[in-house]
């Protein structure tokens, strides 16, 4: 079973992101469960959502304390919330930022993990470019598809298409594909570094 936790702020589509990822896994015929942390759904407040993906029905319903992957939608949370709690040493992490881990003061921290699984992606900028609003969730899912290969970018696109009206879906899909491309290029650079 693969377990993912998404951190962000109310209004950034944190809960929707987990739901979209579960829908992308569903498109691929897998079992998936998405659920929010409840009660703090105010604009700007820290929000967490969770997603589990497996090839068999998922029975666990507790919050995910030991994730295989983290998506951080808002880097301003880095110093407020214990974002990285429980991340597996083989885990993936994708942070929405224009900056590098070194800029964020995380250069030493990410050394505990596998370098090729730790990336940053400017998802808000990509969303602003393709959607017209800095809502980074779909772009981050595209980036995560590129980073982990857990779901394909086409499945992410299918999930977005089903969820949103046509124009909004098209923008978000473009942002997701751009983020996926960005992440793949970064990974290639890392591989040749």
């Amino acid at each position: 079973m693969f377990q993912l936790r998404i951190h962000g702020r109310g209004g950034q589509g944190v809960v929707t992101a987990a739901e979209l990822l579960s829908a992308a896994a569903f498109v691929e015929g897998r079992h998936a469960q998405a659920f929010p942390s409840f009660g703090s759904e105010r604009t700007g407040a820290p929000v967490v959502s969770f997603c589990r993906i497996d090839d068999k029905p998922i029975r666990s319903r507790e919050p995910i304390s030991h994730p295989d992957a983290l998506i951080v939608q808002d880097p301003t949370l880095l110093h407020q919330v214990n974002l990285f709690e429980g991340l597996s040493p083989d885990g993936y992490m994708l942070i929405n930022t224009q900056h590098s881990f070194a800029d964020l003061g995380l250069a030493d921290f990410v050394k505990q993990f596998r370098a090729e699984r730790m990336l940053t992606v400017p998802a808000s900028e990509l969303a602003r470019e393709h959607v017209g609003r800095p809502i980074p969730n779909a772009a981050l899912l595209g980036g995560f598809a590129g980073l982990s290969g857990l779901v394909s970018i086409d499945s992410v696109a299918a999930a977005v298409e089903e969820r949103f009206p046509e124009r909004l879906a098209a923008g978000n899909i473009a942002a997701a594909r751009a983020a996926c491309e960005f992440v793949r290029n970064e990974m290639e650079e890392l591989a040749h570094a």
Binding site: E19, S22, A32, A34, F38, G39, R59, R61, E62, L83
Partner: protein
Amino acid sequence: MLKQIEGSQAVARGVAMCRPEVICAYPISPQTHIVEGLSDLVRTGELTPCEFVSVESEFAAMSVAIGASAAGARAYTATASQGLLYMAEALFNASGLGLPIVMTVANRAIGAPINIWNDHSDAMSQRDCGWMQLYAETNQEALDLHVQAYRLAEELSLPVMVCMDGFILTHAHERIDLPQQEQVDEFLPPYEPRQVLDPADPVTIGAMVGPEAFFEVKYLAHAKQMQALDLIPEVAAGFARVFGRESGGLIRSYRAEDAETIVVALGSVMGTIEETIDELREQGVRIGALAIKSFRPFPLEEVRAALGGARRVVVLEKALAVGIGGILSANVRMALSGIDLHGYTVIAGLGGRPITRASLLRLFADAIADELQPLTFLDMKWDVVQREVERQQAGRRPGPHAENIIRDLGIVGARSH
């Protein structure tokens, strides 16, 4: 048709396929998405004919459901927590009058202190109001139970609560097999009331009854619930024939055949319990579980048969009867009267505290070693309790518990992420 969908939306679709003619609703978390989903289906004309009545309170919601049902309409409403309490008087009327209303209870804690998260305090507080109470383990089962609930309710002329864990189920997106309308139509015939207010054939429903007859009327409500003990498995079997999957019934055992230790629970926590049991089974521990699906009527005989051979029974429940302890466990004990075994009551998950596999592993290890207290509070922060007790002893006016404890815990402890 398989669909990745929110639990609340799945229930809304399932209820709509039952063709309710009157839906009355007052919003309260975590139930609101269900009636919002239904109001959409009425607005778009997908669910027709159906009157959606936005009422001014839960008391009105149940009162409208009573009126609609008595006039011969299939009626539905949903609520949670304080909303269920606010309709308490009307709940007794619905069951006392024998009206087959179906209601979703998206289980949530009851204040004070105010808390929107999941536990079973709300449904448990109304356990003796004469409604049947069915508990869903998954969102698929929550949907399926609503379809079965109308069959049960209308056959017996008694109301049914379908209880599903608030947030944990209502807000979870997962794979659901949505039934076809034709399947639901085949399983659930149009509502034929056993009593109806019809100007062409006038009757009185709900007149005053004195000591000469009240007792008998109350007994008949009990007798009907006893009939439900036979009908619930029949309806579940009929459902399996039409829909091709098992849902509902009175109880469900999990790896309990040779189990020395059996864990009993209601609702969605069964999933995490099963995961824990699988882990212990791999280590050779003879442990199993029993899900109670029908809490009212309570299947005494079936529970006795399922648990009677065990050496110890651990009842894990999401409600606390202040002043005695367990509620579900008191019912389980009654089923086991005369049988000599170790019985433990575990109160867990109140106000949304997560019930984790790690905690269950520790709990079950203590149970297997018979080191558990007869009444155990899972993951209670005893140091926090102790500090507050000391504060209360230190002076006459130490202030309110909840606010003191929140201050002690600070923001990190209150909810770090």
